[in-house]
Symmetry: C2
Subunit: 378 residues, 2 copies
């Protein structure tokens, strides 16, 4: 999760994102003003403090961030766009939490809120943040679709979801095979079977929603009076957008779409550990190979210091190599280096499992280091 | 805050800490079992979900983590000690939140929970974690005292607080000038005026509590039945400890104890940015020095890539150097490099403010890089 958050930080900061931390306890007053206190119904966790003031546990933070920006007096058009984001725990009283981290009542979300001087500027921001989301999923090696989406309780006029196609997904998507059209069926009025552009038959797939973007206009800024001084020195409402990525959900969804029956597969970039070393079984005739494998470990950590924290040595040498290799597959290391039979050759040869490519290579120490030198970590 | 968390991660992982994430919504049932549901009174934020199940917002997580460990069947003495920690938002319904981040109702805390096979082992863990806390405060350059403390609602038999001496502090401490004795006055029965060891008169000081450690024994493990199999293969209750550091509070307390009237001072290691560059005022006769300063910026970022994200260029060149230097002091950069009058010399000389040492140096580009090469970031 920390690695995924690093990738998100990179993408958000590349489009001028500034990171902050908004409170989980959101005042009922703010939510009443926007109308969402009633609209959200039982999904909102509600409580009162010792002074009997009402709060909800923020499932999202449009009200809070807009109040923060509204409180900045003297905000000038020169200071916009503002692109504020956080990675924090969010709360939603799901009627049926399920599938582990895919749908839980507490989850981590990256949410960005943007403030622009005009609808045109806000639309430009919208395109930039969507492009950052595309870049993120591409870097993770996840096949995704960006579909037209409903705006729901958040509101606004334009909205897209980023979906990972998967049978377990709870959303139904209609896609043009040529890529002209992609929509969540809940946005469509009546039945649509062919692409409005090329007339090809739409295909249906299920998807896991991992991101959602909204062009909000002035829905929240008008309630909180979030204004800036225009170039004519007149107060003007900020044009807003909001953008969410499910942090904990992306972890679970990635495993869901990438894994096989035998092995967990993480997006390589964010695998908890890149590489597992498996020395020979204690008492086997290759036992002396353990020292040679540790030499690979040491030299690799020295040659590629950015990977030093990504290396695991499975020293449970009372277990067979086969048993430990099975465990390594279940844990999802992109690479496993085994000191097998050929470790006794001169020079020693190691068995390297590239799990995500599903191939086995036989490499010398130098070959292992060369192979791993291409591995990226965030 | 992210830098401070990195330092904490280093210290906790150096003593075998494993990081996890426990829920904020803690089941009322667990808290009733430990007796704290009633004991905590109005400090606990309480709520119910849509099924009318009760929860509190975790101010601390002894119950939850102990239930987690208890659920691991087949835990062997060989797997202990377990040292589990998290850095998450905690909640406490303070009657009077005050002093910004020093006492707020939501705050970030680093909390570690340890599970050992015997009291002796748990006492050893206690010493190790306390030593890690000492190391942390030393690395931050913060003067601290470790004092005997009350166990309060957490319970257990041994407890210490880590306190930063400060007038604004809400705790009263009694200290032996020779270092034999240090206690929070709330732990003392009646008046104590001299050191029990050396008889010297105790001095009183106020302190800000920034860390708290507890030896818990089996208070929580006996309730949750958190057991391991002993070397005789018998179930045995784990001996526990818990250890907290106030993350957001340490930030505020550091500023409180280090700053002067004119300038904020952060612990150098975790300053948000290490270095601010101030180019000449637009239209001044040193204006051409801006290019030379940018050269320092570029060369520094290349020579010391770990500092690249720690450099700020204050390009508000419509403002005087004096005005921007004042702002830089208010923001707390440990170093400020100014292109002043001597930037026109050959080779150019830059004015370098070392804010924390309160000195000004005149250095060439090479001198600046040499000086900054000693700066550490986590």
């Amino acid at each position: 999760m920390e690695k995924l958050i690093k990738v998100m930080d990179q993408e958000m900061q590349a489009v001028g994102g500034q990171k902050l931390n908004l409170p989980s306890l959101c005042s009922a007053e703010l939510w009443r003003a926007s109308g969402r206190w009633d609209q959200m119904g039982p999904e909102l966790f509600r409580l009162v403090d010792r002074h009997n003031h009402g709060y909800c546990l923020g499932p999202t933070h449009e009200e809070v961030v807009t109040a923060l920006v509204a409180s900045q007096s003297g905000l000038s058009y020169k200071q916009l766009p503002l692109r504020l984001y956080q990675v924090t725990r969010k709360f939603r009283d799901e009627p049926k939490p399920r599938f582990g981290l895919l749908r839980s009542r507490e989850f981590y979300m990256k949410d960005m809120y943007t403030f622009d001087t005009s609808e045109e500027a806000a639309r430009h921001t919208y395109e930039q943040v969507c492009a950052a989301y595309c870049s993120l999923f591409s870097r993770l090696g996840l096949r995704f679709v960006k579909v037209q989406a409903a705006t729901g309780s958040i509101g606004g006029t334009t909205s897209h979801e980023f979906q990972l196609p998967a049978d377990i997904g709870e959303d139904r998507l209609l896609l043009c095979p040529q890529g002209h059209f992609a929509a969540n069926v809940e946005t469509l009025n009546g039945e649509q079977t062919s692409c409005p552009t090329c007339r090809e038959k739409l295909t249906e797939t299920k998807g896991i929603e991992v991101g959602h973007t909204f062009y909000l206009g002035t829905k929240y800024s008008s309630v909180a009076n979030a204004v800036f001084s225009s170039s004519e020195n007149k107060p003007q409402l900020a044009e807003m957008g909001c953008y969410g990525l499910g942090v904990s959900r992306i972890l679970a969804a990635s495993i869901e779409v990438l894994s096989t029956e035998e092995s967990i597969r993480w997006p390589s970039l964010i695998a908890p550990y890149q590489l597992c070393f498996i020395p020979p079984k204690r008492g086997s005739k290759e036992e002396e190979g353990a020292v040679l494998l540790e030499q690979v470990y040491d030299d690799l950590a020295e040659a590629l210091p950015h990977l030093a924290g990504d290396l695991v040595l499975d020293d449970r040498t009372q277990l067979t190599i086969g048993k430990r290799l099975k465990d390594a597959k279940r844990l999802g290391y992109p690479y496993v280096v085994v000191a097998g039979k050929r470790v006794c050759e001169d020079p020693p040869v190691f068995e390297v499992w590239n799990q995500n490519a599903d191939e086995v290579l036989f490499l010398t120490k130098e070959g292992v280091i060369e192979l791993l030198s291409k591995v990226q970590v965030p």
